[in-house]
């Protein structure tokens, strides 16, 4: 899966999970906490749904470090790459 495809999947999940909190444009530097106003529980929901959709898991300890949308996408790309090795 390309980064673009992963990015689109995650955007759709965010929109489905927290539709009232999504800005018109989600860019790589969009800060998940500030710009989307997703609280910590909302973030858990988004990550869990992304994990289920993409079939990989992000170690929970890394969750706290993910700040921007781009970082979330990159982390899933990393886990997908590991899974495909």
């Amino acid at each position: 899966m390309t980064r673009e495809e992963v990015s689109e999947k995650i955007k759709k999940i965010i929109f489905d999970s927290v539709p009232d909190r999504v800005p018109e444009v989600i860019a790589d530097d969009t800060v998940v906490n500030n710009d989307m106003a997703i609280d910590s529980m909302g973030f858990i929901l988004v990550i869990c749904r992304c994990e289920a959709e993409l079939g990989v898991k992000i170690p929970e300890r890394k969750w706290q470090k993910l700040s921007t949308f781009g970082e979330v996408v990159d982390e899933f790309m990393l886990q997908l790459k590991k899974a495909n090795k």
Binding site: V31, A37, D39, S40, I44, L45
Partner: protein
């Protein structure tokens, strides 16, 4: 029944109800560990600790069955147990290890390996029965609170006198054990009543743990409760929810009560081994004082606590901070309260410069704001809560928002997401302050 420590608890129930379930957990499938089996496992592990020569263990808690067994065993074996938040930034953990004299670690292998260079030779002196909890909130000024197995069990007994559980109950433990509320009200409360404690399966299962374990009782913080309600995460057999560590919005409360689930609030601090007051009747905000505790109000309304059986021994290696917090045998809580006509305690506000998030996490404002001030080059700022989320209030124009965001980003990156600034509010007038220059946060309107 009142127990003097973990050992006595296990011995009692292993004798009177050996086959009763103590812990329910998942290990590829749902498993049950009886009190007698738990006692045996803990004893074996305690023997291993005794022969290891280790004196202080840092627990990077994940709430698992092995984690619980390790905590109980290490305490019984005489090691000083330090509860660490595995999700804290590495830099915080690396500082906590030498500070707390940790000479061995339990937890995620990769993280233990990363932290192992910071291990020390262990503490000197008498450290038996000590269990250290860090005051909640990720900040370099976090203090380790010295509790004991005895004080923790006393706290559990106190709670059970007000909210008894039955041996047929199942208490679901979803909160982090690294926080004293989770440890006492998520774990010890159930075990001390001889009830089964179901160990939550972690963050990924927040939504379905209640359906999986079918608990009858649950301890929760407001943010978790809101999440469970929003996602139909509560089971029908649930009859009691104990809420602690933060203000609970009224709509959450009514949503729970509409499901015929009884709600109780607990009030307490890490320094008092968790709760000192619990609501037991109709109004969840009106709390009875626990049997071992006494609360008096200072002239300014500050809650002063006398808790002889549950009080901390002090802040670890911080005698001055301890002397400031406990004066004349009373803990100065920093919270404000009042007693109603029935003698029930109501929390009315906070005196300390602390924000308490719905997750129970505290933000210590002097440090937090000074770091933001350094990044922005101005002290004309304040952090306040809006809808349970930290907002930065600044004097200036809204057009500056992007610049402000960029400047504070490196600082925010060092804090967990839930503690990061969620929004910026600009105001054209100076921040309201007292005659001595202290910000009057209650006068700041961010809506």
């Amino acid at each position: 029944m009142r127990f003097s420590g973990f050992q006595e608890l296990l011995e009692h129930y292993a004798a009177v109800s050996p086959d009763a379930p103590a812990l329910i957990y998942e290990d590829r499938e749902k498993k049950v560990c009886s009190f007698s089996a738990l006692k045996k496992l803990v004893a074996e592990k305690a023997d291993a600790f005794r022969s290891s020569g280790k004196r202080c263990i840092g627990i990077l808690s994940d709430g698992s069955f092995d984690c619980v067994v390790t905590i109980l065993a290490a305490n019984i074996a005489g090691l000083q147990v330090v509860m660490l938040d595995a999700f804290s930034p590495s830099s915080t953990l690396k500082g906590s290890i030498p500070y707390a004299d940790i000479d061995c670690l339990w937890g995620d292998e990769e993280l233990c390996e990363e932290l192992s260079p910071f291990l020390t030779v262990g503490p000197g002196g008498n450290y038996a029965d000590r269990v250290l909890f860090f005051t909640s909130g990720t900040t370099s000024s976090s203090k380790a609170v010295v509790l004991t197995g005895q004080s923790l069990m006393s706290s559990a007994w106190n709670g059970s006198q007000k909210l008894p559980l039955d041996p047929s109950d199942i208490l679901l433990c979803m909160l982090p054990l690294g926080h004293v509320f989770g440890f006492v009200c998520g774990l010890l409360w159930g075990l001390s009543c001889g009830a089964a404690v179901a160990l939550g399966r972690g963050t990924r299962h927040y939504m379905d743990d209640c359906r999986y374990y079918q608990p009858t009782a649950l301890s929760a913080v407001p943010s978790l409760l809101g999440f469970l309600l929003a996602h139909e995460g509560l089971n029908e057999s649930l009859r009691l929810i104990l809420i602690g560590a933060g203000d609970c919005p009224a709509d959450l409360l009514s949503a729970v009560q509409a499901r015929n689930i009884r709600v109780s609030f607990g009030y307490g601090l890490t320094e008092t081994s968790s709760g000192v007051a619990i609501s037991t009747k109709g109004d969840p905000f009106a709390m009875e004082i626990c049997p071992d505790d006494e609360i008096i109000l200072a002239p300014d309304g500050e809650i002063l606590i006398k808790a002889p059986t549950c009080m901390m021994q002090g802040y670890y290696k911080m005698p001055e901070a301890t002397a400031e917090a406990i004066r004349g045998g009373l803990l100065y809580s920093g919270d404000l309260g009042r007693f109603d006509d029935d003698g029930l305690l109501h929390i009315t506000g906070r005196k300390k410069d602390v924000l308490v998030l719905p997750s129970g996490t505290k933000i210590f404002l002097p440090e937090f704001e000074s770091r933001l001030a350094a990044a922005l080059g101005t002290t004309e700022l304040a952090v306040v809560l809006k809808d349970g989320r930290p907002m930065l209030v600044l004097c200036g124009e809204a057009e500056e928002e992007e610049t402000v965001r960029k400047k504070i980003r490196p600082v925010m990156d060092e804090y967990p997401r839930g503690q990061q600034i969620a929004g910026i509010v600009f105001r054209s007038t100076p921040l309201p302050r007292t005659a001595t220059g202290k910000i009057q946060r209650y006068k700041i309107n961010v809506n």
